[in-house]
Each structure stands twice: as structure tokens, then as C-alpha cells.
């Protein structure tokens, strides 16, 4: 078995296909001629640096348009999903790649800031699952029809969406007194520090509950046992909604 690669045949010179203007124009032509009858309005196609083609689609036509792109134009890979806070509205941006035709296409959907909702693409591309979950988590766009839309990067009890421009990443209130100016008794008892931590913790929007350290083993699942009643004692009423926080730890330990 010859496992080591050899240069048996001379290499073809690298293809500059991707940045070939005619090649990109073919895609633009296909989009401008065939998409309007599907979407019902003239397609707004833009050309960008690096052979990238941009397309704006109304949110209700997204699935129809992407199905057309996948089945007819051969965009078989969903590469990237990005959510952007554009100030007065949110954008959900999809980057599609065609391996057979070597095209990259950027599809943009504009959503109202009050209720950013758009249909999920998981049915078309399984890759959309985590990509959309991430944008739901960090930007707050709801993808309708997603099978498992919950936070992926941040904690379940995190409040807010950090990549929104309105998100305060720094605490509103910081104790302005230097440590030396704290009364000695308070400093020794650690009271001052505890106050500061509470303020910071709450202002960061991480919920009111004390959180378990991420490394704390929560074998099995408290929520399951609470529901099925097997294995451990079910938590008290009004406590069991958030899973995994059965045993609480004191702060500052």
C-alpha cells in the first residue's frame, strides 16, 4: 500500500476561477433572471470584493429562495450564519457555498428589531442547527421551526443577548471607593468585597440564582429525576424549573 503521496503527474496551474469575473457574472445572471418569479419582486443582487455575490431576500420568501438555490443552482453547503444588530433592525446573514460551481453567495434577511423571527433552514441544511442556535443565543434572533432552539454558548439562565449593541458589557455601578478607604472591620470581614460581587453579578444579567461552577458534576439530570421521580428526591415546588441547580453553593467560598 503506497501511503505516501507522490507527485506523479505535473500539477495543473492554480485556478483563478473564483475571481473570474465572467464566472461570477453567470451567477448574477442566473439570480436576476430566475429568482424574481419565485420571490415575486426584482432580486437585489450586489457584487462584493473577492468574487462574493450578495442577495437580499424578504424574510417570508427565505425558505423558497434557498430551496431554489440549493436544488437548482447547486449551493450544497451552508457555511456560516451571522446575526447582526443594524441599529433599527436585525439582519440574519447566510453564506452559501457551491462546491460544484465554486460560488459563494451571501443571502441577507432583514428582521424587525422588536420581534426578530425568521424560518429556520435546518430542514434544508443540517449544518444550520448549531449555527442558528448560536445566533439565537448571542443576537436573539428566533428561528421558527428549529428543532432544538436553546442557548448554546451561554448559560440557560443568562439574560440578554451580548452581541446586541444595547447590551451593557460593563457593570452600571462600580464601588468608587478604593480598598484602603473601606472601614477596617468591613475589610476584615470581607463584607465590602461581597457587596461588590453582588452588584457586578446582577448587573451583568446573569440571573438571580447562584450558579453552579461549570465543573460541578451533575450526574444524570436533576430535571429528569424531578419529572420521573426516580433516583433522587425531587426538589421543592417552584425550584425545579431550571435543571441542574439542585444543590446550591454559598457565594465566596
Amino acid at each position: 500500500m503506497d501511503l505516501v503521496p507522490r507527485l506523479s503527474t505535473p500539477l495543473a496551474p492554480p485556478s483563478l476561477h473564483a475571481f473570474d469575473r465572467d464566472h461570477v457574472e453567470t451567477l448574477v445572471g442566473e439570480l436576476t433572471t430566475r429568482l424574481p418569479e419565485l420571490v415575486g419582486q426584482p432580486a437585489s443582487v450586489t457584487r462584493m470584493n473577492g468574487g462574493l455575490v450578495g442577495l437580499t431576500v424578504p424574510p417570508e420568501q427565505l425558505v423558497a429562495a434557498v430551496t431554489f438555490l440549493r436544488d437548482t443552482l447547486g449551493f450544497d453547503m451552508l457555511t456560516c450564519v451571522s446575526g447582526v444588530d443594524m441599529g433599527d433592525h436585525l439582519d440574519s446573514i447566510y453564506h452559501l457555498r457551491s462546491l460544484s460551481n465554486n460560488w459563494v453567495l451571501q443571502v441577507r434577511v432583514s428582521l424587525p428589531a422588536e420581534a426578530p423571527q425568521v424560518a429556520s433552514l435546518v430542514g434544508l441544511y443540517p449544518a444550520a442547527n448549531w449555527l442558528e442556535r448560536e445566533e439565537y443565543d448571542l443576537v436573539g434572533i428566533t428561528y421558527l421551526g428549529h428543532p432544538d432552539l436553546r442557548r448554546i454558548m451561554l448559560d440557560d439562565d443568562f439574560q440578554g443577548h451580548p452581541l446586541l449593541k444595547s447590551f451593557r458589557s460593563t457593570p452600571h455601578v462600580v464601588h468608587d471607593r478604593a480598598t484602603t478607604q473601606v472601614p477596617p472591620r468591613q475589610a476584615l470581614a470581607g463584607e465590602h468585597q461581597q457587596n461588590l460581587e453582588t452588584v457586578v453579578g446582577k448587573r451583568l444579567g446573569q440571573g438571580d440564582e447562584e450558579r453552579l461552577h461549570p465543573g460541578t458534576p451533575t450526574f444524570g439530570n436533576m430535571a429528569i429525576f424531578a419529572r420521573t421521580g426516580q433516583g433522587v428526591i425531587a426538589p421543592e415546588e417552584g425550584d425545579g424549573a431550571s435543571g441542574g441547580t439542585g444543590s446550591r453553593q454559598g457565594s465566596g467560598s
Binding site: 473564483a18 453564506h95 462546491l99 451580548p162 430535571a223 420521573t228
Partner: protein, 383 residues
Amino acid sequence: MAEQTTSEVPRYITGPEGLRSEEMILNMGPQHPSTHGVLRLVLTLDGETVVNCTPVIGYLHRGIEKILENRSYMAGIRYMDNSDYLSPMLNETAYVGAVEQLMGLEPPRRAQYIRLLTNELQRIASHLVAIGTYGLDLGAFTPVLYAFRDREGIMDLFEALGGSRFNVNYLRVGGVLHDFPKGWLDQCHKWLDQFEQHSLPELEALITGNEIFDARTQGVGYIDPKQAIAHGITGPILRASGVSFDLRADRPYMAYREVAVNVQTRPEGDAFARYRVRMNEMYESVRLCRVALDKMPGGPIATRTPIALRPPRGETYFALESSKGEQGIYLISDGSEYPYRAKIRGPSFVNLQIMPELLRGHKMADVVAILGSIDIVLGEVDR
């Protein structure tokens, strides 16, 4: 970082003679030597067989995308190092390339060739870690020592070049930071010779053809090419499934427009094929390094670019072939000194998604063999 929800309620399986067995939930990680970081896998087991797997990620989330929004373009390069911390050069090249594409800036040829050289060295370093730790996962302790010994040579080269072993912070918009110091090229030649003539054959002799390694990897974790494309998988995993897709060859960027790349593919689609593709890519990277050293043009190493860059308003998507797959940057500029939005498309994040489908039906012992063959870096999964 979410806890398990409804679908994970254990099922009871009633066998013949009324015997009942119960599915078990096994928590693997986040602190586990074989998860290559802080990945947590919640496995539902029926005896030894994996019924379902739910990856729980986010333990290493640092909000790099938010940090980049608050740093000027030149200052943000450094934070890209922490995304995929095993291939910082490639991440930096992606970010820098995105800014350059946004500005329509073409760096000098020498800078492009220096980038190619450092990128290929970094690819070797990353693949060495992938293969070494993969051996470690499968119970072979020696390969990781050999692999890390060889990687040290690359780290020394980077240290001489950029001043730091890992977080090199070497690339700049419009070029690179330093030219080669005295004697660097000789050292690089020496390392490449030593690596190709001694280290790679040693590594091959240790792993390839080892009966245990073959038995544990061949036919394990098969990925169908169509499935791989639908799941957005790129990099060595996609190429190990027989799809010849490599951004260096298919959408060449920077110096790859002049240097042809031999795309390494394997038709099998199993864990062994992925190992094999990584090994072959190291041979190919050594060849590319030599080509870059031979063709290294003279001239300036960077254009004159202001520190306070203000790219024109607009957006761009730039992708390059990282050691794990397609590393993409989606960048929006509002004309100010800070990027309005910088989205990192990490290949590890997308590649990890297929884990549950791969594990279903495999034995518990194969979990580590499959996870190791995907070669994730949690810094990039969580960002």
C-alpha cells in the same frame, strides 16, 4: 451550555422473559483528558452501545466576537490567536485577509510568501498535535512525545520570527511584522530536512501499520460525502470522505494563486482515512514550505498602513483553509476604527456538530476514537 431537556428521559427496554434493562446516562467531561479541552458529552448508553449523544459546549466562551468589536483592526489581530490556539498564524491570516479584502488592499509579494510559509508550518504543527494526541487517545503514549518534540522546532522558528511561541501576533494588515532574522532561513531548511527525513518516517513507523491502531480506526466513524457536505464539514474530514475540496486550490488566496497545491483525499471516510489525510497533508506542507523558500521574492514585507485603520463602509466574507477546515471571517465596517461586526466561522464548531450522528450505534470505547479523529479545538468551538 444548556442542560439536558425532555428527550433524554431513560427508556426501559423489555427483553425476553420479561427482563428489563435500562438506558444509562453517562456524563463525559467537561474535565476529561480525551475531550481535548472542556467539552462535555452527555451519552445515553444501552449497555455498551451509544444510543444518543448531546455535546454541551460553551465552557470556554470568551466572547471574542464582542471583544473584536471593541478593538481597532490592528489590535484585534492578537485576539484571533486565542480562537484556535493550535493554529494562531492561520487565524491571524484569516482576519487580516478579511480586512484587506474589505479595503481592496494587495500586500507585497514577499509578505504573501512569508504568510504562505508560516501558514504551512503552522498547519504541520497543528496536524502534529492532532495525530500525536490521537495516538494518546487510543492508548499509544509514544507518538505524542515524538510529535511534540518536532513541533518544538516550529515553535522555535515562530519565536525567532514573531517573538512568541503561540500567540505570535505576527501578521499585520498589509503585510507582516518582521522580516526573517539572520540565519532563520537556514534553520527553517534544516528543520524541514530533519522533519522529512527523520521525524515523519519515525511517526509513520510508530502509528501506520500498528495492528491496534488499524483495528480501532478502520471502519470507525464513517461519514458519507453527501452527509458531510450537508453538515457543512470542511477540511481533512471532508477530504477523507473523498470530496476534493480545499480552499487553497479551489478558491486560492494570497500566494496560493501562484503555488499549486496537491489536494490530499482518501475515499474511505473513516477515522483511519482522516489520520491518513493529515499525514499526507504534512508531506504536502513540507513541499509547499520548500516551494515558498525557493520562490521567496525580495522587496518590502508590508505596505505602509496606518495603525488607526479606517476601512471603507461595507462588508466582506473571507475564508481560508485552516488546519481544521474553512476558517471564515465575516466583517462589517461602518467606516470607523472599529469593526461593526466580526463573525468568526470556526471549522471546529461546525465539524463537531456531526458527533451525535457518528456516535449512534457505536460502542462506548469508540467515542474517544471518533472524537479524536474529528480534531476539534475547544477554543474555536466556544470562541
